[in-house]
Symmetry: C2
Subunit: 237 residues, 2 copies
Amino acid sequence: MQNQIAAFLERVEQCESLVELNTVVAELRHIFQVDHVVYHSVNSQGDPYALATYGQDWAEYYECEELYRVDPVVLGAFQRFHPYNWKSLDWEKKPARRFFQEAQDGGVGNQGVSVPVRGPHGEFALFSISHTCSDEVWARFLDTHMPNLLLIGHYIHASIRALEFPEVDGNYIVLSPRETDALRLLGAGLNRGRAAERLKISEHTLRVYIESARSKLNASNTTHAVAKAMARGLISI
Amino acid sequence: MQNQIAAFLERVEQCESLVELNTVVAELRHIFQVDHVVYHSVNSQGDPYALATYGQDWAEYYECEELYRVDPVVLGAFQRFHPYNWKSLDWEKKPARRFFQEAQDGGVGNQGVSVPVRGPHGEFALFSISHTCSDEVWARFLDTHMPNLLLIGHYIHASIRALEFPEVDGNYIVLSPRETDALRLLGAGLNRGRAAERLKISEHTLRVYIESARSKLNASNTTHAVAKAMARGLISI
DNA sequence: ACCACACTCGCTATTTCCGGTGAGTTTACT
DNA sequence: AGTAAACTCACCGGAAATAGCGAGTGTGGT
């Protein structure tokens, strides 16, 4: 089994198109003997991408009704780090119960597990597996495969990133150390006065850095500059 | 070997204190037969945490001189997702070359690999392993252990989170749709007037959203709020 | 039925930021 | 050895954001 998974990861890594990736990922159903496998970006914008083995009816219904706003799996993803069993989520609320029923009818299955995947540039995606079985069988499955799921989710994400951004270094922007310092402190909530104090320079000098960073980043104001710098991975707060 | 690693992951998961975790992680040196193992949070705020087997001299020097500002390993981490070989970084610039030399003298080793780890709440950490050996030997090591390193980094992070925040749901932040809209537009460079126009609401109403988002995020100003929201994956520009 | 919260609107004073114009020293690449 | 870029400092007027006081509606959960 572990060999099968290692081979699968390698295949994912070597995919040369999203279509190919799609078919490779769908094969996981056979490897794990489960009903469905899903990878989709949760992020509101950027690269909306979904790759699912669900029936088209359910997928379309989910999309049209914007069920991600109600789906406990998605909502729970924001606060979790490790792969989590769907059973551990809060299904008590009325909309959640309704959603669960509809998902069942849509063929999703009564058991599921999801892996949150966070990338640079704020990408956020979910890799999930769902199945129909008893709690005991499912618990055993999770016990064996939690680490594998984490790996698979990350490898799929990495592959998609590689396919979508082949030339990462094409439009590189380099901020000087002082510019970086300035944006980092501003992003951390300091105003110009305090940031200048912290860097032991005059506020005027600090302003020069902000403005040069702003012009490099083609940003219209400080907030924009900080946001762009974060999105490009030039700073982190 | 894979059994050893599975056992290690389990031990990490069951650690009941940071001290214990520290010793457990240090044992990785023996499992992998490498010089050093490091886990440290890169984030400026939140929970500055470091766990390293480096000599104290180097660690203190690094800290005092703020070498993270120059360290290509840290700078490269911001835009990477997958574990990356230190050799793949840009060591051409003068400060980088100097840093490399100093790190060598500090006993870090000439080879290394790092795993970026991103959590909810905007945590960002690096798990790294360094060693002294030839490129060929190192390449073989990476070939075998890349997936393991990813797992280990994530499990350590999860363990630290569990120890530091036993009550995960205490400090979770949810922005309302309008608050999200507001921060996204501000992060995209619009000023309040234009953002309000875009959302077809009065500027005053927009201001209310900004302030409620600011208070939820515990941010001192708009820039801070946008930065925090981005770091947490609540918005993306 | 009530409470909490999301959504919508307005005014004023104070603080902070933006844009434009300067100049001088040191460091680094070619 | 020359050029480019980073780093440091200063002034001023106008634009924008923050802080402080408000009020009213609609929805969802206990």
